[in-house]
């Protein structure tokens, strides 16, 4: 078998925001850069293609941001969502660096716009990409092309030659041929393993078979596995992933943002046995958004149904699939294949427990139930105005937390102690350093851009010395 070979200064594995920021930063430092992306061109960019904004600290309002967002406030938000599962020094370093990212990213051709319709709550903190994540990627790829960075698509890396913390070469499948790539430095920005159902099963058991994956099927975590197998220190809970409840009718992979549902608050959520299982009125988006995937994963067959009535139909963002509609609860149960008497009992029991109050979904209102085993503590109104509606939901997996440990220079740390000689990582593959738990909108892109740039510059410096 013939083996093709390529030599470069900096090899970047991956093709998303972090990979491109690393490649561009390395190239701007004078290094010769090769990007190998495992996905075909259309699906390039991993989860970046589904993103829409990034969260950067800034001291004043801008054309597209409605007010300041200080480093301290960013840190408070991060501390809150991660419940302390973060490396403070690294996180604060990232937050400080995030300030200059807004300008740097714009200089690479990415354009921003004010927050999108339906996302007013993020208008101050998050910078939205004009045209979304794929538009952002297109801009970065165009800049990379102009700078003379080579990109190979459909080129999954199949093995890494790492010798005691020093990267020597990688083998990638390029046009069906094994190609050996030697490089002075490596930047691994190849994402997590959320599309690898077998790997998810290690943490979740057989129920992972019923998970839907919100991004492309190419986020398999192969590079992460190879790195951890070569002595790189792991960080983050290997069993955990970010799971939200999405429309059960979504495709297995790559349904993206349009399958999300955020109407839990307007009704009740029942499982396959037509029983409620959690307080639907516990908290606001995004916290409730982030917990419902996990809650549904714990239910039989990993499916649940959000049931509401006609008065709520137009109170939330539309989504891809229309809700299932019926004139009575019994008819709805029949359409959903749920036990009809049980659903009627659940609904009437709920309705009887609803206390009088003034509904306001923008605050913790006083609409609640009283006397139920599982109360709905806010936003509880009776389901009494037909037609009735339901959305079937399943866990939708966005990203995984397991990654490679890095230092402030995005240099991978070895399990045996000390930093790797010439290996850096950026993006989701090391997000667990900063984001050990939970999620705040736009943080993934901040991690990718900030550490991507740091990794690229470090890799170039090592390669050119």
């Amino acid at each position: 078998m013939t083996v093709e070979s390529i030599d470069t200064d900096v090899l970047v594995i991956g093709g998303g925001n972090a990979a491109l920021c690393a490649a561009i930063a390395a190239r701007r430092k004078g290094a010769k850069v090769l990007v190998v992306e495992g996905a075909p061109k259309f699906y390039r960019g991993g989860n970046t293609r589904h993103t829409r904004n990034m969260r950067c600290a800034h001291d004043t309002a801008t054309d597209t941001l409605t007010g300041p967002y200080t480093e301290e406030e960013f840190w408070d938000d991060l501390l809150r969502v991660t419940e302390g599962n973060t490396d403070e020094a690294l996180a604060r370093h990232m937050i400080t660096k995030s300030k200059e990212m807004l300008t740097w990213i714009a200089e690479q051709g990415v354009r921003f716009q004010p927050s999108l319709g339906g996302t007013l709550s993020l208008g101050r903190t998050n910078s939205f990409f004009l045209g979304g994540g794929r538009a952002m990627l297109n801009a970065l790829y165009l800049t990379a092309e102009k700078l003379g960075i080579d990109v190979l698509y459909d080129a999954p890396v199949t093995s890494l030659d790492i010798d005691n913390g020093t990267f020597r070469s990688a083998i990638a499948r390029v046009n069906g041929k094994d190609t050996k790539i030697t490089a002075r430095s490596l930047v691994a920005a190849a994402g997590g393993f959320e599309a690898n159902i077998d790997w998810l099963k290690e943490g979740w058991g057989e129920c992972a078979e019923n998970f839907l994956i919100r991004g492309t099927p190419y986020n398999r975590g192969d590079v992460l596995k190879m790195l951890l197998g070569s002595g790189v220190e792991a960080i983050g809970d290997p069993t955990q992933c970010h799971a939200v409840a999405i429309d059960a009718r979504a495709p297995k992979y790559d349904g993206g943002i349009i399958t999300r549902l955020d109407c839990v608050v307007f009704g009740i959520v029942v499982n396959r046995n037509a029983e409620r299982f959690y307080d639907e009125g516990e908290d606001f988006w995004p916290k409730r958004y982030a917990i419902w995937g996990r809650l549904v994963a714990a239910q039989p067959d990993q499916i649940a149904y959000i049931v509401f009535d006609s008065k709520s139909l137009k109170k939330f963002m539309p989504s891809l699939f229309p809700p299932i509609e019926a004139q009575s609860i019994a008819e709805l149960a029949q359409k959903l294949d749920l036990p009809a008497e049980k659903l009627e009992a659940t609904v009437s029991g709920f309705n009887d427990a609803v206390q009088p109050g003034t509904f306001d979904h923008t605050v913790f209102d006083d609409c609640r139930t009283k006397g139920l085993a599982i109360e709905k503590t806010h936003w509880a109104t009776k389901l009494e105005d037909p037609p009735y509606y339901a959305y079937p939901v399943r866990p939708g997996i966005t990203f995984t937390y397991l990654g490679t440990r890095v230092d402030k220079d995005a240099r991978m740390q070895m399990a045996s102690g000390g930093g790797a000689e010439n290996m850096f990582s950026a993006g989701e593959i090391m997000a667990g350093n900063v984001l050990g738990k939970g999620y705040a909108a736009g943080v993934g892109m901040t991690i990718g851009s900030v550490f991507g740039k740091i990794a690229g510059e470090g890799a170039a410096q090592h390669a050119c010395n």
């Binding site: 293609r49 990409f129 994540g133 794929r134 538009a135 495709p251 993206g256 891809l320």
Partner: protein, 371 residues
Amino acid sequence: MHATDHLQEAERLMTVCNSCRYCEGVCAVFPAMELRRSFADGDLNYLANLCHNCGACYADCQFSPPHEFNVNVPKILSRVRTDSYRQYAWPKAFQPMFDRNGLAIAIVTALAIAGFILGFAVWHDPSALTSTTGNFYKLMPHTVMAGLFGAVALYAALALIMGFANFWKDVGASSVAAGSGLSLWQAVKDAAALRYLDGGGVGCYNEDERPTDNRRLYHHLTFYGFLLCFAATCIGTVYHYGFGWEAPYGLFSLPKLFGIPGGIGLVIGTIGLMKAKLTRDPDMVDRSKFGMETAFLAMLFATGLTGLLLMALRDTPALGITLSVHLGVVFALFLTMPYGKFVHGFYRFGALALYAAETKADRPATVRKAA
């Protein structure tokens, strides 16, 4: 249910787009869409005519083909748009002109040119066609020329107005007072600058995901070239009737100063637009409308080119034939105006006015639901 498969597909796409909204900053179509929860035929016709076909939403979309959601907004809105031209055409009897538009316009043009050649030869001496007098009006008296073209222009104006009225009613424009002075003025500004043919600020997309397209420039050359030529003709008419100054006019006269750059703009602009059309990413293109779009560009190109030739060849034996061809092309251009791509400018202007009105009122137009 919708009247056509194209409208059905457009509704599916708008539902997808409305649950994503990433393209909100790209152009006017998506903010207009966001004002709506459901999409009647009139809503979709409005959005389709608001779309400038810049292609940015296709290059930006994470769900465009080969993704299974198959989101191809430029292509399907282009189909809905051309279907709407047929639907609005007046009188109804001429709607089939849109079915094989390229062929229809070619036939009308050929007949018109032949008519002028034959007309000159029959009313005059066949030798008049090749004389070198340099005087148009020897071939066709000015009054006849003005009368004939005045009549066809009046007919075209009537048919265009009736078509526009059909559009205005269909999209429910009156429900938000889209005809107000402010809305119309905003539409004038947006149309004159082609504000939404810019991919959201970075330029249009045509061949691929690189915003390297120059269609806005070529469209400006074509559109303003056409206006200059039209102005030159109007000034000539005023000169003739108002002041008794007869053509031919000197090189630095107003008709020439308007007409020559106008003709050059038409020629260069249409070549540029045609080239862009031929290199466009085939995934975004509705091939079935190729004839209509090509015919439109060809007519404008021929108008510009034969006008310039007429000036260059005026003192040669080719005058007669060149004049016949030029008059034939212009005659056919006016006659077929209400039944070809020309109408896009009117409906797009109307859609821009409605968009301005909706934005101001912060509510969508009320569209009569299809029965």
